[in-house]
């Protein structure tokens, strides 16, 4: 099994790891939502949110470097927002002549681009810490606590359980393809792109058939153990009063920061 490169969970003995997963889940959702609702250019509030996310990162003992490195993965998407530099009307900051045309960067455009980058970056940090400090079964518990239907939660659980098996299937398929893909030096090999796509499609079809067969076998195994279509689970353990206080305090802080930002920058 190739758990190591798929499971984002990193075990540590930290405060964040030990926390009630339901509190972590709700707080993560609230944090990301607050970040989304902050108006452009509310820099003091952005910095406070960054302080908050970095404090959580430090408390989680995952290593600031690890989280910051992973948080860069959303950066390529920023390219979608780069044209804002030139298209948002505002006072000109810099004009780049390109031949007969000239591109004008506006301060308003620059501020908006930086705001988007910052919001995206801080949001993803909290999401990374949540995923790295919460084992997946605990996430399922949190999903049940926020009243996501049980069937959907159990589908999430099934997907998680069999994802590793399916990844192994994919790795076997790719290994088989690589083993049959001998190339002669200097000669053209590999066929046309359409042919390659067809081969890959055959592998995908193979994977689907295997997954469907496996799904049917799993059903038989479940039915043999008494499954009747109803998903049953242990009742959720009660949330401790400390967890409640931390959750309410955290949500209160986010609301205050959001109102502050909306009051002064919206």
């Amino acid at each position: 099994m190739h758990l190591h490169f798929l499971d984002p969970y990193r075990h540590r003995q930290s405060l964040i790891h030990a926390f009630d997963p339901r509190v972590k889940f709700v707080f993560t959702l609230a944090f990301v939502l607050t970040m989304a609702l902050l108006p452009f250019g509310a820099w003091p509030v952005y910095v406070l949110m960054l302080t908050l996310s970095l404090s959580i990162t430090v408390l989680s003992e995952l290593g600031v470097k690890y989280v910051l490195k992973r948080s860069l993965l959303a950066i390529p998407f920023v390219l979608a927002a780069v044209p804002l530099l030139f298209t948002v009307p505002g006072p000109a900051l810099l004009t780049i002549p390109i031949g007969s045309l000239s591109l004008t960067i506006t301060t308003t455009g620059l501020e908006r681009l930086l705001s988007i980058m910052f919001k995206s970056w801080v949001s993803v940090q909290v999401a990374i810490v949540f995923a790295a400090a919460t084992p997946f079964p605990d996430m399922l518990l949190a999903m049940r606590a926020v009243k996501i239907p049980r069937l959907l939660v159990s589908l999430f659980g099934l997907m998680w359980r069999y994802m590793f098996v399916m990844v192994d299937e994919v790795i076997r398929l790719m290994r088989a393809r690589a083993a049959r893909s001998g190339a002669i030096e200097g000669a053209k090999s590999g066929g046309s792109i359409a042919w390659r796509a067809k081969v890959t499609g055959g592998m995908a079809g193979n994977l689907f058939i295997r997954s469907i067969d496996r799904g049917e076998r799993i059903y038989d195994a479940m039915a043999a153990r008494g499954y009747d279509g109803e998903v049953r689970a242990f009742p959720l353990p009660p949330i401790s009063s400390t967890s409640w206080i931390v959750l309410l305090g955290g949500l209160g802080l986010l609301v205050v920061l959001l109102l502050f930002a909306l009051l002064f920058w919206a």
Partner: protein
């Protein structure tokens, strides 16, 4: 989604920080309603045997996104799977399967934001599935269950699901004032009309394999028509709305900016009203982008008008043959 071929699979979905509150609210609202409906339909119509199946197929789609093939210059094509799941499981089950896949990508792997999940669900699980269903059913009606209908339908369904989902993503960014419509829409359309071909070819390859091994899974059955009409019409309306809105938006980005401004998502309390630059800052870009997008849009419109026409022809023919037969 814009640069997925270069950075797959990390940058495929919209991350957090790019969408405004209004866009998030609308996308979450629609997605949740559709997921609840899908949930009820699946619970009512499907046998319990299908429950573990859906979980495992979701795992397979997840893993299947690793399957790629080299295209050129270090880029590669790979599978997203909405159309394939729809063809093999039917539309409502596919909505749930894609919900799980996209949800897990956001929660576990930070591929796509958590607040932005509503929008990504809307693009992949709702639009991707509905639109591909519309196209696939239209081709099925035309081919009357012939073998070629499965493959042509599969290709077109896969291509349209990618293309239309990309247009939706571009419009969501434009409405959030985080990406100018006159650049984002044509760029997304262009990139994804190419990615869609890869998706279509892989889907056809997969269907050919499934057809050879388990023809019962792809042959038209009653189970796949369950709740079909609603999805069919919804898919058609979504496709037409996006096909019409996209060129409009890319031709009039100021209109969108105006909407955003009205909604208060642009700094409306700015003390000094800046001069609105009377022309585009990048001269000529509007014309260029209109030109690049025209081909794609015209293609989609043709596909859908052919689909509608074929559906009507087919319906008339069945009613007339049924009446002459009796």
């Amino acid at each position: 989604m814009l640069y997925s071929p270069l950075h797959s699979p990390q940058a495929m979905h919209i991350p957090d920080g790019f969408l405004s509150g209004l866009v998030l609210a609308v996308c979450w609202g629609i997605s949740l309603i559709v997921i609840v409906v899908a949930f009820i339909r699946v619970k009512r119509d499907m046998d319990e045997r299908k429950v573990p199946l859906m979980g495992v197929v979701a795992a397979a789609i997840f893993a299947g996104q690793m399957l790629n093939f080299p295209v050129a210059a270090g880029t590669s094509g790979h599978l997203l799977g909405a159309a394939l799941a729809m063809i093999l499981l039917g539309p409502w089950a596919a909505v749930l399967v894609m919900t799980i896949v996209v949800g897990a990508q956001a929660l576990i792997f930070q591929d796509g934001g958590i607040a932005a999940l509503g929008a990504n669900l809307f693009n992949m699980a709702v639009i991707g599935v509905f639109v591909s269903y519309t196209v696939y059913r239209a081709v099925q009606r035309f081919s009357k269950g012939a073998k070629w209908g499965i493959f042509v339908g599969g290709f077109l369904a896969a291509w349209t699901s990618i293309f239309i989902a990309a247009l939706a993503a571009a419009l969501e960014l434009a409405f959030s004032a985080t990406s100018p419509a006159n650049l984002a829409v044509p760029a997304m359309a262009l990139v994804h009309s190419v990615i869609g071909i890869g998706e279509g070819l892989i889907t056809v390859g997969a269907l050919a394999f499934v057809y050879a091994v388990r023809p019962d899974l792809v042959k038209t059955t009653d189970q796949k028509q369950v709740g079909g009409k609603f999805v069919w019409v919804a898919g058609l309306l979504i496709a037409i709305a996006l096909a019409v809105a996209s060129p409009l938006a890319s031709a009039n980005p100021d209109g969108l900016e105006f909407v955003a401004e009205e909604q208060g998502f642009i700094e409306k309390a700015q003390a000094n009203p800046y001069d609105i630059i009377p022309d585009y800052v990048m001269p000529g870009i509007a014309d260029e982008s209109t030109a690049t997008i025209a081909a794609g849009i015209v293609g989609v419109i043709i596909v859908f008008f052919v689909a509608v026409g074929v559906a009507y022809l087919r319906r008339n023919r069945t009613t007339s043959s049924a009446s002459s037969g009796s």
